[in-house]
């Protein structure tokens, strides 16, 4: 058969190819569209609020009570609540997390590592409501016995449970960064007679630093966005204070408590969307920092 046809008319295949590309294209565009929906929806619902209440007293008001007779729109108590809980949580989580990462990637031998690494990943998979349950029923009593605070459910309680939730995220991301440091860098340092600790300190950590910074940013982003655990752990008094032994209300807890009560389209509803938008921007910026640091870092070790 010598019919050489460079253009085999195979209409079936061309339509199949076109059709499938169409379907896949629809899914692709749909997924991106849906993700843009979040941002658009948050903005459209909070602009009217900013127009009527104004940015100034939203950001400078020190009392948040949208359902009082005359509504008070100060977001500061919520902002300080979130920052207090996440910041103290980070102070606890980062050192322990970093120590655990170094142990996991440099000191642990393979058998221990094979058990410990999945165990930590499981710790990340435990639903936050179970952390909240532990914080509300057990951790709060322990804190009460140790610090005897005037508030049983307080910011410290929230911070500790958030620290426990942040560690697995930080460890798994930074452990990968430390593993990605090429072997020859380690050997070069050993070759110069450096001890293992000096190698870790002066070669491996600096090389994996971007990955470590990214993991910390991701962990903080997750902590800022956490809702259930802080709702059950911090007592939710919306007062503007920096004392970690008082009860505070985080932005996420405020949304969980107040949103169902706001009539759709009312000023309260839009005010809560403003808080939601602020929360979205904060977590988006934190994740963006993590992404940029991570992607710049990946280029160097491609």
């Amino acid at each position: 058969m010598d019919t050489k046809i460079y253009k085999r008319e195979n209409r079936a295949r061309r339509y199949a190819e076109g059709g499938i590309t169409g379907i896949l294209g629809a899914c692709g565009i749909l997924s991106v569209l849906i993700l843009a929906l979040v941002f658009i929806f948050l903005i459209t619902n909070s602009i009217p609020f900013f127009q009527s209440v104004g940015l100034v007293n939203f950001f400078t008001g020190t009392q948040w009570d949208p359902f009082a007779s005359e509504a008070m729109w100060g977001v500061l108590p919520l902002l300080t609540g979130t920052i207090l809980v996440s910041f103290v949580g980070a102070i606890i989580a980062i050192p322990i997390g970093l120590g655990c990462t170094i142990y996991l990637s440099e000191l642990a031998d393979s058998k221990v590592k094979k058990i410990l690494k999945p165990a930590i990943e499981i710790l990340a998979g435990v639903p936050s409501v179970i952390y909240g349950l532990f914080a509300a029923l057990v951790l709060s009593n322990w804190i009460m016995e140790i610090f005897d605070p005037s508030y049983r459910l307080n910011a410290l309680n929230g911070a500790i449970i958030l620290a426990i939730m942040m560690i697995p995220i930080q460890v798994s991301v930074s452990e990968e960064a430390m593993n990605a440091v090429p072997r020859n860098l380690r050997e070069a340092s050993y070759a110069m007679g450096a001890t293992r600790w000096e190698t870790i300190k002066s070669v491996i950590i600096p090389a994996a630093l971007p990955g470590i910074i990214a993991s910390i940013a991701l962990a903080i982003g997750r902590a800022v966005g956490e809702t259930m655990a802080v709702l059950m752990a911090t007592g939710n008094a919306s007062q503007f204070s920096f004392d970690i032994l008082t009860s505070v209300r985080t932005m996420t807890a405020a949304l969980a408590i107040d949103v169902p009560e706001a009539a759709i389209g009312s000023l309260q509803y839009q005010g809560l969307f403003a808080v939601g938008l602020l929360l979205f921007i904060i977590t988006f910026v934190i994740n963006l920092i993590a992404d940029m640091v991570l992607s710049k870092y990946q280029e160097t070790y491609k």
């Binding site: 190819e17 590309t21 899914c27 997924s31 849906i34 997390g97 966005g225 969980a256």
Partner: protein, 287 residues
């Protein structure tokens, strides 16, 4: 006195071992507390009866059947909604327009949206699905909200699985005269399948464990097993939260721990399935 280099190293190494021990201690304490307090309540009735009120009205007797079924139905709906759009969307964005300049920025935003707090998705759920599309307080509103929440996670994990395939295999298939879709169907998807499935399982377990979106989109105190997607429903995570604020605390707390244990077991099963799939996937295709 200056510690000698050897002692310094030993000191720091013990410090790191201490940190690792602390992390393991956190995990063990929390899990053991749930097991010790929860194991007692797990009986056959506990798993096969709906929550019933005791004589003063607190829903502390009976079992957690409707919350379990509610959570499984939620995960089933999320599987049907988020997975097709997420996986095929990612396939399109990676394979068909992967090489364009803007796709890198697009993936950065998708990656970013994976970090959006679940309560912000819940806000969207209330505004759009419960009210605007008038699904009302129902299973479908909660399921779509959860689907949106895990969509970025599914897309990112699918992208990573697809990109793990070396381009030489793509060239080989194209070189043999296969069309783009035939190459994807026969070579890209099969080899990345277990990576994608691992991502799906992990995001489903994330969706199943979420509570915040449920609070706003239609979870109900005494809902039985939902008969239609527009019914209100119960869910395991909400049941646990509800039990911490029930009036009869002496009976409510053990039920909360029991439900927490069941939820942890469910999550463990899914995580282990994902982990075994991922390790098998790594052996099978070592290139």
């Amino acid at each position: 006195m200056m510690l000698s280099r050897k002692n310094k190293e030993r000191m720091f190494f013990w410090l790191f071992r201490g940190c690792a021990a602390a992390v393991v201690a956190f995990l063990t304490i929390i899990i053991m507390f749930v097991i010790v307090n929860g194991a007692g309540t797990i009986t056959w009735d506990f798993l096969t009866q709906n929550p019933m009120p005791n004589d003063t009205g607190a829903l502390v007797s009976g079992g957690i059947l409707s919350p379990i079924i509610g959570t499984l139905m939620l995960m089933g709906l999320v599987l049907a909604i988020a997975i097709p759009i997420g996986v095929f969307g990612a396939v399109f964005l990676v394979e068909y327009c992967g090489s364009y300049k803007w796709s890198r920025y697009m993936w950065m935003t998708v990656n970013n949206l994976a970090g959006v707090p679940s309560i912000v998705w819940a806000l969207l759920g209330v505004g759009v699905f419960v009210y605007y599309l008038a699904f009302g307080l129902s299973l479908i509103s909660a399921a779509i909200t959860l689907s949106l929440m895990i969509l970025p996670i599914v897309m990112v994990s699918t992208k990573e699985a697809l990109e793990a395939i070396p381009s030489s295999i793509y060239d080989a298939s194209i070189g043999l005269g296969a069309t783009k879709w035939q190459t994807i169907l026969h070579h890209i998807l099969p080899y990345s399948a277990s990576g994608i499935i691992t991502g799906i399982i992990l995001s489903l377990s994330r969706a199943g464990g979420e509570t915040a979106p449920l609070l706003l989109t239609g979870v109900a105190l005494n809902a039985t097993i939902p008969l239609s997607i527009f019914d209100q429903f119960q869910a395991l995570p909400y049941y646990i939260y509800m039990m911490t604020s029930a009036s009869d605390r002496a009976n409510a707390y053990p039920m909360a721990y029991g439900a927490a244990l069941v939820l942890i077991i469910l999550m463990m099963i899914m995580n282990l399935a994902a982990a075994t799939l991922r390790s098998r996937y790594r052996e099978k295709y070592k290139w």
